[in-house]
Amino acid sequence: MAPEDSGADRRPAERQAAGRTDARQKATGATLYVADVELPNMAYAAVARSSMAHGLIRSIDTSAAAAEPGVVGIFTAEDVTESPYGRGVRDISVLARQKVRYVGERVVAVVAETRAAAERAASLVVIDYEELPAAVTPEEALLEGAPLVHDAPWTFPRAYVKQEDGTNLQSVVKVGERAPVEAALAGSAHVVDATYRTRSVHQGYIEPQACIANYDSEGRLHIWLTSKSPYRLRNQIADCLGIDESQIEIEPIALGGDFGGKGSPMDAPLCAELARLTGRPVKLVLRYSEDLVATECRHPTVFRVRVGCDAEGRLTALYHEVLIDGGAYAGYKPSELASIHGVVEAGGYRIPAFYAEARTTYTHTVPKGHMRAPGAPQANFAAESALDELAAVAGIDPVELRRRNLLRTGEKDANGHSWVEFRGEETLEAALEAVRQPVAPPGWLVGRGLSIYNRGTATGTQTSLCLVPVDGGRLRVEVPVVETGTGSHTVYRELLSKELDFPPEDIEVVQVSTDDLSPDPGAGGSRVTASISLAVDVAVKAWRSRLGDEPVYVVVDERAGPPVGSYGVQVAEVAVDPETGQLKVLEILSTIDVAEIVNPKAHQMQIDGGAAMGFGYACLEDLDEQGGQVWAANLGEFKLPSARDVPAFRTVLVPGGRGVGTANVKNIGETTTPPVAAAIANAVAAATGCRIRELPITAERIYAAMRAAGS
């Protein structure tokens, strides 16, 4: 917990951070990623995948594939473990057994002397299916008599559903009470009841998923995986393969972007089985199209919001009813709640009555998993759009509506929780002071829109750390955390440099294998900086009180304290060509409630990168799932924002907040992605008078809305 003080004279860290620990290696191409690692006697794998959304596997003909030169082995479900795996629910098959449940599902694995030979052979595998009717949307999946994705999902280990809940469900979550909400809405002066729709998008990391598995001469399994959570991975693999965790070592490696999509075991269980079956190290590097079509992506939602206010614009009740497409497997998510954060929270507003009901269904489509701020961009798009619609109906300025309802420190949120502080009002005022009208193309309609997001950070942690003195008065810091790009390793260096008075250049931060340190749950949930701060606090105390010059190894287990949050207020400035509906987002202003900042540069990049991802989600990205298939199957079709697509980003930091640990830090990694879509939709409404309730916000949608409105 941060020390008590008035907050009046806290300023963001002014000391110039010493730059990233890994900048030079990355700029020269020296950093090694999984695909760059070669082992002696390594063999290469490729996967033959289902072309069917739902079908029975009648036969598999591998004769042509086996005749390809260089093939080492061809394997199906019969050859590998039948034990399913997953991050939470364990329902994912290593290879499809008897049935396929989505286009792209792994059916046959080929191992060969070269990747080219493996891919050639995989393309020659012939799979004969009996096609079955498929449920490719949540609505279809919930119809009476719908085809079942899994016969009895309640029997999977750690299932979130019970048989009584019904079929084709991954989870049903209800938060709050419905009756008070209905009563409050019925008695409200103004109510908006609107439904918003979002599509699936991919995390878009530039490094495709890759894995290497190898059993050493003592029978221990070594894994290199594009994973951001090595200790969880070790546990998940142990569970799936029936091996003891002590027999598995997850090797440290740099990660080429994660954004939530690299937290599952991915292809590691398969690679481990292939290594066992062939007696050789096996490497599987996905082609990007496989990543887009067949791994995991953000949940599409149909999001109904009912929100009411009294005659003075004070919110009376908020109701979320969400239908979520979970895809063919639930195991890519760590828990039912983590995936719908934002859905089950009422934001940073004072809301007397709140009820949320979220159903996540199985469908015969690519599995849905985690992506930066899971559930929050969908929820924020719906809720913040609805607030603007409510403001319009009530005849109140949308900014004023927010002002009247933002929580103040000392109040409780809609779920009854007290947070350390609520700084929404001052963050909003700082945003409003900074807005300006950028230059728009002549003749275009201009508009400004606002969205607010309050996100919590983890205040407890389990992690570990080892400080090793090195000859010449230097320090090696051994950490369990993967450097996913956010600069986490640099945070260790900055904090330890400051606390222990080592010059930054004398500190080396190294991720070690899972053999060498106690578990850390991995990157994600905006927990890393705060977690590192808590770990460093403990390690520094131990270092200062040690007797000799021995290394200091600490295991940290801090219980969570009262929730610490950070408000992000985003303002979008847009221009719309009235003749075509073409949308230019001129600027996104992110105003963030902060405490201390360890590395200002890295912090700023999370703000910009997060906003860019939010922009892509709002305006460009769509995996184009139709008929149970992903049609945007390469980066030429799934459009990530380029350097000239992104709007101008401006940032205002509002210091003085109370964060976590002695370093007094707040979360930033997932704060600026969720509010972008609503800010843009609200700006488009201001510019054109048209409300777009579906993502992405395309020129065509705006054009159609304007024509329909007769403008």
Partner: protein, 279 residues
Amino acid sequence: MADLRFVAPTTIADALGELGEEGAIAVGGGTSIGLLVKNRLVDASKLVYLGRVRELAGVHLDGEARVGATTTLRELSRSAVVADALPVLADAAGRIGNPRVRSLATAGGALVHGDPRQDLPPVLLALSAIAHLASASGTRSVPLSEFFLGFMETACAPDELVTSVSVPLDPSRRAHYIRYTPGSEDDYPTVGVAATVSVAPDGAVTAATLALGGVAEHALAVPEASQLVGGRPDAGAIRALGEVAAAAARPTDDQRGSSGYKRAMVEVMTRRAFEACLG
């Protein structure tokens, strides 16, 4: 493909000899063929790389602008000859794809590949370009209005080569190309509109052409552009031409837009392209 061959002839005659074999396909910069080979989407036994055939390179002026088939987009965008005689071509070439594509992609490849989403075909079509082909039995010339036959289907036979494309010179011609990209700018256009007008000293239009990209199985010429000929066209005439162009387009639904939206945008962009030429 273990039995795929790669040859790099140095003369047109040798290239034609190689292309005479069944299963041989010509490769310009490899920006289209490379991807087809990588994804096993093409059934070829031999790749005939044209990058070493000097006779196919270069842009020349001799009463017309003659663009060698292996001229790259980068070369087109930087050529002083093209900038002077065909500024719309230099401009369009410089906006296609990204610098890596432009380093390699060729004018001949753009024509022969016949991808209806690409930019160069409608621009060359509006410029009344003529494709020059060679085969073992001789040479022939095909106006681009007769060159594009269907979806990725052109008049160039498997044993033929486009050796160059020529564009008539016209100092009185003004041209404008719009590539409308409402989503990511780094993408194929939702619609591409290439317009030219030739204007006499008294302001009368003596010729006008219009070609559309991305709205049919191939680049589409709209001959009704000639309706603008004679006198100074007014806003009404241009608007009418936009409606004709929209009706002539036969777009399909895809991620870049529904057919209805594309049709509507053909109308708007046709008008804007001619306004830019005449304005």
